[in-house]
Amino acid sequence: MLAAHLGLRWLQRRRAAWLALAAVALTVAVPVFFIDLMQGWYRLVAVNARAYEADIVVQPRVQMQGLRDTPAGREAILAVPGVARLAPVVDSWAILSRTGVGDDLRGNLPSQVQGVDWGLDAQLGRLDPAILHPQPILALRAPLISPEERGSGFATPAWRAATALAGLHLASALGGMPSALPPMQRPRPGVVCGRELLYPQGMRPGETIQLALPNGSGGTVGRITAEISDTIGTGVLEIDRYLVIAPLPLAQRLAGMQARGDRQARVSGFRLATDGSDIDTVAQRVAETTGLRALTWQDLRGNMVKMMEIQRNISAAGMIAVQLLTIFVIYAVFSTMVVELRHDIGVLRGLGARRRVLAGAFLIAGMVCCLSGGLLGWGLAWGVLAALNPVSDWCGFSLFPESVFYTPMAPTSFDVWIPLLFIASMSTIGLIAVLLPALRAARVEPIDTLREGGG
């Protein structure tokens, strides 16, 4: 194909073409680098938001009253098409204090308390080990507690010791123990606290805390004592800064929602997981069927994720607008090439090359320049992204401080659609920029150039 033969050779032999290639590579590399980081950050926030929230939360229309937690009530919700699983929740708040501090309120911490059924919540995909003991990407700056020091969920280290002691007592009762054992003590219930809540106060798992919900008239609605069994970190959303997760009955006691006399136990609402159906549709069905308020995770946390998505999209559009500036570079380079090659174009016309072949040669050269420059820019951007963390480690400084970003790593995404988007936009821009010089080349009259001297 003559057009490709001419275009590629001219691209290879003309220094100006290398300038265009460099311009294209840079105008692809820079957007890919920045949008990739933005995408990584967006994904991190989305993962955090999604990890903490169930698909749908069902609440009473008047929150103060709570909902009666009955098997029939649960069945009614589970019968709604699209609802796969359900877990009750008690939402409350409390003043958290260390036991033994008396009336010294300086260390008292207002906290958000959630009462959950751990097993049912885990079935919703929440509170799994990845969230409870997250990997470094979600790690907080405070170190993780070793498995020996912490419990797991609501099981405290003291529960573990009590279970072991119970075994020893059983062995002793069977006459297998040579010496007296310490007396059995019932361990306190465990609660899971957010790391950001505990660590700045110097508190650790194993410590006993008190949670009190004031009633507004000097007394309390409920007061519970518990042992910190485990910690939870939910990263950038900083939910854990105030969070205490307690066993459902304990939270009900704190919030005054426990069964009392003829009154049935109540909950603040239910978390639901869908069977994969559209969550907005399922939420609408639940609301219509039960008369309760049904909120999707996007209603609760989605706006922030959506905001980041919009910000990313606007930035990408801005980057494409910046790429438009390359039109001038490519136009100038290819116009120069047409002027430089005017003689050769005339000779080729004399030899019988068609106008469209010559225009095509420049368009192919422009397209190849944009595609190869784009690929070069892609490699450059991903190379720099891949080198970010090792280089910052090696240099001993953090480009993305954990204290700010809640991650020790640069939040890179390496999504293929990002470079492909910018290469596609660059190729379109390149094609537009080359169009005029290409048409000018096609209009070269062989008579004019053949009269002149040359090669």
Binding site: L2, H5, R9, W10, R13, R14, L341, H343, D344, V347, L348, R349, G350, L351, G352, A353, R354, R355, V357, P446, I447, L450, R451, E452, G453, G454, G455
Partner: protein, 231 residues
Amino acid sequence: MSHRLTVTGLRKAYPGLTVLDSVELRADVGEVIAVRGASGTGKSTLLHLLGLLDRPDAGQIVLDNEDVCTLSEARRTSVRARRVGFVFQAFHLLTDFTLRENVLMSARTAGLDLAAAARRTDELLTRIGLAGRDGDVRTLSGGERQRVALCRALLPRPGLLLADEPTGNLDPATAETVLGEIIGLAKAEGSAVIMVTHDPAVAARADRTLELRAGRLQDRGLQPASSIIAG
């Protein structure tokens, strides 16, 4: 002998100036015709018209029994690629391409089979003493450049070879050799040659010499070179 080229009533005028007026010309297969004339008499214009680079105002150019004046632009370009060869005073080689690529370029523009064209390139280069040569054309001497240009022109086996002062940039000895090659190769290939020249010695090598004067071609017949030089 069949007519390769027949020109009748060819006219070309620019505002205020009639360059060619009722030009008549006939070239047979393998015939070499020299066209002479003072500067500005329209020799190059005639070549451009014959080479389908320009359109006449009136008249007919029949190349291989086809009136090429009535053809569309695309068809004229195709005819130029396949049936007309050019050799210029200034060589007009493409410096971004190697020697062999320059020769093969005419095969590419004509859309010929490249493998067959490569074999013919070897054959032509061998015949003009450039066998096995390749590389940057800027390193070639003037004579070598003109030989390469000749090979490029003859590669598609054109019926008509147009030469515009083909030896104008060469020293006499080289000019003599190159001219011999042009005439020899063209005759061997069966191409009619129309050669514009100021040089009487070059014209003397042609089968016929035509004089372009006042827009018309006048047949001067075959003259001994010595008489032209003396005249």
